[in-house]
Amino acid sequence: MYLAIDTSTGTGVALVSANGEIRASRVLTDTRRHVEVVGTFIQEVLAETGTTAAQISAVAAGMGPGPFTGLRIGIAAARAFGQGANIPVIPLVSHDALALEWYENGGTGELLVTTDARRRELYWSRYSGLDAAGIPVREAGPALARPEDLDIAETERLGTAGTAPHRVDAVGIPAGSLGILAQRVRAAGRPGAEDEALYLRPPDIAAQGPRKRVS
């Protein structure tokens, strides 16, 4: 069994069997309540399927891209679960789960996925299809852009003859697909993504200026 956890947009938790079937899943699109629901969701998918932690063989962690605070909660939870259960954590690019879901549902050709990055920006990734192992082939991204800049870049890339890719502006990451992806990555002996949170933005900090006078 694979436990999948993603808090890069809302909160998604799922259990996927060793042969890649979704057994239980929970989704909340609210982008402010990750820390409240992540534990309960894990507890619920375990209880619903009568699964114990000892029966989980790996944890799939959605590494983003995602805005700061929420993203970290799922990664922290996935790593801690892996540590406590003494099982590996498979870091994955969250957008890959969106692509997997779309192609599995019959989508073909190029796919552009976006998620909200706040501050009037988008996270985006572009895919060409699934490979022989059933894993999405990411041609570009994940990256951060203003919506108008992404449109301009896509128009330039395609030129006059190209067909625009199908576009999915997602509000949530399907944790079930993330779990399936983990199962396929593992079956194919692939390493997964970098084990690093994909904030794609430096932290908000103002370097100290000179001391201001008070008088």
Binding site: E36, G39, Q43, R72, G74, Q83, G84, A85, R213
Partner: protein, 357 residues
């Protein structure tokens, strides 16, 4: 669950220290701390986003190091505890998320506890003499908080007598260090700069200490006016082309902070007839604070306890110790649905205790 002498792992991530502590009942087995302080130095204070990112990276390795040092397995643990507030919310959330998942992965009860009450609980782990009886007054001073508490019962009755209405005392040290051109963190820098300085050279204001303030804010603190007074004094001297007597300014500033902290704490002991004072928080590292507190407590007939520095700064051991006390007192675990609460009041010693059964 072993309620006699529970083995508890505590996670603390409310500010810039990722702390993992492991205790068995009243015995400390590990107090592992990873600090992101160096990363904040060039910004002159804790940057919440930098702290939160550092927590995420330090959490796993710190848990592993603490488990190894304590020589225990997850299987042997009786509970997982975590700070759920008060503190920086983005930082707290990393610890809360990790603690919930760790509790589920190991099938152990989960306890969400109060950071400030944890500071009081640290005294339990101090092996030098018997821990305090209750009631006790506790003065908790750090870069994030300045609070005066009346603790009647560690697991059942904690009252906030007063707290800072603006800057925390540690923050004032950082800001004044900056005025004097000294690096962050300011506490140890001011301490060093004050060496050989005359603490009576400049009479800086004691915040909320005038009779009119004492009516409404008898146990509250304010350090913003003091910081401004130091800045004004330095600017006037600079404008006049005088050389700044850094040692005197540092010593006089420090004296003003220490004076007001200790005066209000001893007042509380006297007013409430509580002959015990416990210090906690990172500012306890300040030698002058310890000195003045020791003198005035002795003069007032008040017993003073100051845990070792490693237990005064933010740490996971105090969180584990508090949770162990809650468990020994028969408290049920917390709900897995608890949030991080950046302004959690001290009256909430444990958050979201489940009803029995």
């Amino acid at each position: 669950m072993n309620r006699e002498n529970p083995l508890v792992l505590g996670i603390e991530s409310s500010c810039d220290e990722t702390g993992i502590g492991i205790v068995r009942g009243r015995t400390l087995l590990s107090n592992t701390i990873a600090s992101s302080m160096d990363e904040h130095a060039r910004y002159g204070g804790v940057v919440p986003e930098v702290a939160a990112r550092a927590h995420l990276e330090a959490m796993g390795p710190s848990i592993e190091a603490a488990m190894a040092e304590a020589g225990v397995t997850f299987d042997e643990l009786d509970a997982i505890a975590v700070t759920s507030g008060p503190g920086l919310s983005g930082a707290l959330m990393v610890g809360v998320g990790a603690a919930k998942a760790l509790a589920l992965a190991t099938n152990k009860p989960f306890y969400a506890v109060n950071h400030l009450v944890g500071h009081v609980g640290a005294d339990i782990l101090d092996t030098r003499g018997e821990p305090f009886d209750y009631p006790t007054i506790a003065l908790l001073v750090s870069g994030g908080h300045t609070s005066l508490l009346l603790v009647r019962d560690l697991v059942g009755d904690v009252e906030l007598l007063g707290e800072t209405i603006d800057d925390a005392a540690g923050e004032a040290f950082d800001k004044v260090a900056r005025i004097l051109g000294l690096p962050y963190p300011g506490g140890p820098q001011i301490d060093r700069a004050a060496e050989g300085g005359n603490p009576a050279a400049i009479r800086f204001p004691r915040g909320l200490s005038l009779p009119k303030d004492m009516a409404e804010h008898r146990y509250d603190f304010s350090f913003s006016g003091l910081k401004t007074a130091v800045a004004r004094w330095v600017e006037r001297a600079e404008d006049a082309g005088e050389e700044i007597p850094v040692a005197d300014v540092a010593a006089s500033f420090r004296e003003a902070v220490v004076d007001v902290l200790v005066t209000k704490a001893i007042n509380a002991c006297r007013d409430l007839g509580v002959p015990r004072l416990l210090l906690g928080g990172g500012v306890v590292a300040n030698a002058r604070l310890r000195e003045v507190a020791t003198e005035r407590a002795a003069a007032a007939g008040v017993a003073l306890r100051i845990p070792p520095f490693s237990l005064c700064t933010d740490n996971g051991a105090m969180i584990a110790a508090l949770a162990a006390q809650l468990i020994m007192a028969g408290k049920q675990p917390s709900s897995l649905g608890v949030a991080a609460d950046s302004t959690l009041p001290v009256t909430e010693i444990q958050v979201a205790e489940l009803t029995e059964g």
